[in-house]
Amino acid sequence: MESQIKKKQLSKILSLHFIAIIIIPISVAGLFLYFFFSESIRKEAVYRNMLLAESIAGEIERFMIEPLKILQHISHNVEKGNLKQGAVNSYLETVISDYNYFESIEIINSAGKIEYIAPYNRDFIGNSVMTEEYRKFINISGEGKQVYISPTFISFQTGKTTIAISSVFGSNVLIGFMNLGSIQNIVDRLTLKKGFAVITDRNGIVIAHPDIRMVNERVSYNHLQPVQKGLKGLSGTYYYNDNATDYAASVTNVSDTGMVVAVVQPVQAIFSMLKTVRILSFMGIIIITITSFFIGKVIIQRIIKPIQALVQSTQNVADGDYSYNIEDSSYTEISEISHNFIKMIDAVQKREFDLKKTRNYLQALFNAQSSILVSVNREGTIDQYNKAALEFAYKQGLLIEIDPIWKIFPFLAEYKEKIIETISGINEILSFETTVLEYYTRYYSVFCYSAAFENEKRALIRIDDISELKSREEQLVQIQKMDTIGTLAGGLAHDFNNVLGGIVGTVSILEYRIKQNKPVEPEKLNYHVNIMKEAGGRASKIIQQLLTLSRKHDSVLEPADLNLIIRRVMDICETTIDKSVALEPQYSDTPAIVKADRQQMEQVILNLCVNAAHAMTIMRKDEKWGGELSIALEKISQDTFITINGSGDSASGYWRLSVADTGVGMKKEVVERIFDPFFTTKEIGKGTGLGLAMVYNIIRNHNGFVKVYSEEGAGSIFHVYLPVSGDESALSDTAASELFIKHGEGLVLVIDDEQVLRNIVKDMLEECGYSVVTCQSGTEGVEYFSIHRNTIKAVFLDMSMPVMSGREVYYKLLEIDPDVKVLLASGFKHDARVEELLSAGIKSFIQKPPTLQKLSEEIYKTIYE
């Protein structure tokens, strides 16, 4: 969680807060004032502009009043006939020269002709002018008005902007032509920094403008919105854009004339005060900000300094330097922190010491283990290890902290996926045994325990070299087997004796008959031979059972039907167990397939049966012998009980094989120790105490487990649980497998010193379709091979031969033909010599004595694969 919090520097936060406390109110107040003032400034500016326009309009109105009065006065005088005859012209001339308003004055009579004109021009007198067009031109319309004002026009006499003021009296019209040049003066007088005033006539044509060209050229402003408003009689301030500049124009119109006055200023100029206020506001805010920043910095520095000193001191402590020197501060709070911190350091130091001590102790404990102990992470890198692990890696010239665990312990590679699952915490525990084929076969027991913590995924792995334990176990099994045989021998001897009795008896009968020259009828002879044959057959079977039992072999787990195994054990038991014991085997309806070593499993069941029988016979000292030995087979599904006891990975359930007796039973204390090696309740010489220990071991190696239930005086029951194997197809039932032999062809050289075996092998190979040549010694074989090496497809080679051993023969053959194909035969696979040759290049191996099927497979493999 802590790592997710974004770290901030206290000094920065304090500075920011300090600045914020000052700036925010000032900025808000500044902005508020700015907006408040800007609004009133804006209004004020607009008001002033408008005022200017109105004052100009007023000035024009005043300018117009006088000429209007004069004109009225003239018309009054002329109308009333106040002037002497012929004095009108001079009167008009006087008006023009005295008042300087008019350029010319004319009086048009009722005929529409010019009667008087001043200044006098003869050419104009009598000109017929008053047409409808002319009335429009000078803007005379109807009656009722005293004076009429025309739109502006260019005087054809002066070429200047002119306006005509007319007064109608009677049927005459008095017209005064007024030069508007003086209006231009009003505009010219106005001094605005960037703005200007413009006056247009009632048609929007410029009649006064600072740029006189605009006036002279009679430019129309009719298209500008403010002028349009003015022409409609509106007054106010309007905004428009011209040439990418925003203008504010205050417009008003001059009464009667229809003229429009507009005072135009660029928005920027009219509101220039606004800009100043804005600049001042922002400058103020900036200055206050900067000042507050520096003041804040000084204050904060004073607060931060002792904290920084404390930070430095704690940094030293964090770096492992406990010789702290924390300065006391003048601030109570910081001083308190310092003191608490000193206390904390003491506590930490003490705890660290304790931790170190514990850690050293644990490390020693770790190293003291003979097992290899490593801690491994997801990448397969070892990050913790004990001495044994280091030595293991060192012996191989590998670096334990660098090389991945799969390289250091190659036998783990096969289980890589499962180990990674354990590291990731998917499985909690993983344990397995593994075999490494080196010069000698080595066995390792691996125990992997998930040690995932938070995000750190790892596992602790313990590796034990159990090769020695394995070999001891094997020896133990062998010893126990012999023990069992010894136990069985009494029964066997009796049986065997019976058999021999049958043979010897028959033979003596026949011998007697022959010596007595008594004829033996063919039927009789046949009968006797049959008895002998049967007895011989039985003897052979007994011997075979014995041999099977005593044979030492490699443990091979393959699918096997427990029903068949029980049946075989029952066969042995029938001949060996006391007849007072009734055998009650119950078989399952379906094949009970488990992955098992058939021989070991037979040994287990036999052991349990022998024990059961003993409990009902020899263990009963004074009571009558006998009872019921029942064997049951039941499939049970996975349940909690199984999960706790079993390895937990048999999803398809377990086969439970139960051996029950009605014997003496056991006390609780005995039951508890029953699987201990060398623990026995039998009389000395009757048991080694290894039987159940071996049962326990074998079943454990089969991923199963054994449970016992016993009641003293009532009997015992042993439950053997074995995981169900679904792999029925791979079931290598002898009867079934014998049906298939692999056929081939070509010449096979058989080198074996034992004649019986040599012949059997020859017969078997010929059965498979091969041609066979036999040699009785290594020397002979090598010689034959050197001659016929091109025709010989493969060599069947016995390992143990006198004079030249199989090993020597192989190397000679190799010299002759490096590609020679050899099938090695020996009674013992785990023989150093056999292992040497297998690693030297021999492709295949067969255990003696070979079966037809096995031989056919192995020779086929040797030649064709």
């Binding site: 017929s128 005087s155 050229e217």
Partner: protein, 374 residues
């Protein structure tokens, strides 16, 4: 913030591309804009403004807006030359103007030398006829005007002798007008009795001019002057006699009626523009012009509008300014706001003429011979 900035830049760039990206085409206008006789010039200028505002409101020419530059020739050759050089220096791609023949003749060498096309709306002098130069006109030459009028004067109005009054201030127009009229009139059998000239630039006595022209008792008088001078001369003539008065196209503006009053009633002239003979586009043009300038357009405005539209038509086809002359001349037939017209390979327009008379203070087209005879 960065995103915003990025988008702003893109928007500004796009905006520039569409609006500010293309330089405007500068259109020069040259004419008499101030002074006594500025009505012709200002009306022409307003016609050009009207056309430019219409074109710009429709998005300009191939995305380029038009910008108007004006120059006032003040009716003086010197000012005209100076003004045109100034227009060219300011980047005018083409000049619309001048409004009188004399001013146009005064600057002809400049535009030809600088190879700047000058489209004149109203210049009709014969001096420019059949010359391959940079001056293009949208009105027919004086020759056609005076010839048509002379024939009508003789045939329709049965005038056999006539006196002339003409203004020397625009002699390039007036002189050829008079010359051609005389030639056609005498060819018909008519007699030119008196030829009086004056200059509107000087102070003059209109009564004296009228007297001189009437001294030998002609059947009619032809006044070849601007509207105001024509009006005032008519005033003087009417004080003395009721013989028919003929005027030139130059004088056909409102001022003639205002100043002429009752004296100009019945004056006859020959003109390419008659309010009674206009295209279907004219009412719309008149409406928008009146709205814009608060007055009705006169013929200079109409022809200036046409001149601008001829230029726009050519630029739309090829906006390469150096090809402008070629582009204009390539297309012979143009649609005018008053009527359609042709421009020949020398840049001279050929248009129809109408007889116009003033009746009750209004210019009225004379529809047919019969009407005229009455």
């Amino acid at each position: 913030m960065k995103e915003l900035l990025k988008y702003s830049i893109v928007i500004v760039l796009i905006f520039n591309l569409y609006c500010g990206g293309k330089e405007p085409v500068k259109i020069g206008f040259a004419g008499s804009l101030s002074g006594k006789f500025s009505d012709f010039g200002t009306d022409g200028r307003d016609g050009v403004i009207s056309a430019i505002e219409k074109i710009n409101s429709e998005g300009g020419i191939n995305g380029r807006k038009l910008e108007l530059l004006t120059s006032d020739d003040k009716g003086s050759a010197e000012a005209a030359r100076k003004g045109d050089i100034d227009l060219i220096d300011r980047g005018a791609a083409v000049i619309i103007g001048h409004m009188t023949s004399s001013m146009t003749m005064a600057v002809a060498d400049i535009v030809n030398e600088k190879k700047v096309v000058m489209v004149s709306p109203t210049v009709s002098t014969d001096l420019l006829n059949d010359i391959d130069d940079y001056i293009i006109r949208v009105v027919s030459s004086t020759k056609v005007e005076s010839l048509t009028l002379a024939e009508k004067v003789y045939d329709l109005y049965k005038i056999r002798s006539i006196s002339f009054i003409y203004d020397l201030s625009n002699r390039d127009y007036t002189e050829s007008w008079v010359k051609n009229f005389k030639a056609a009139f005498s060819k018909k059998g008519g007699r030119s009795i008196e030829t009086i000239s004056f200059s509107s630039l000087d102070t003059m006595q209109y009564s004296k001019i009228a007297e001189d022209a009437l001294r030998k008792g002609p059947d009619a008088v032809a006044v070849v002057a601007n509207s105001q001078d024509t009006a005032l001369i008519c005033q003087q003539i009417r004080k003395k006699t009721r013989i028919p008065i003929f005027a030139c196209a130059w004088s056909q503006t409102k001022d003639l009626i205002i100043q002429g009053g009752g004296s100009v009633e019945g004056v006859i002239l020959s003109h390419q523009f008659s309010k009674d003979n206009v295209s279907e586009d004219y009412p719309e043009f008149k409406k928008s012009f009146t709205r814009r300038f608060n007055r009705e357009p006169e013929f200079p405005a109409v022809f200036s509008y046409n001149a601008m539209m001829v230029i726009a038509d050519a630029l739309k086809r090829d906006d390469n300014i150096s090809n402008l002359k070629k582009t204009i001349l390539e297309k012979r037939e143009y649609k005018g706001i008053h009527s359609n017209f042709k421009i020949n390979e020398y840049g001279d327009a050929i248009t129809e003429f109408h007889l116009i008379s003033i009746k009750e203070g209004k210019f009225v087209g004379i529809p047919n011979k019969e009407e005229a005879v009455k």
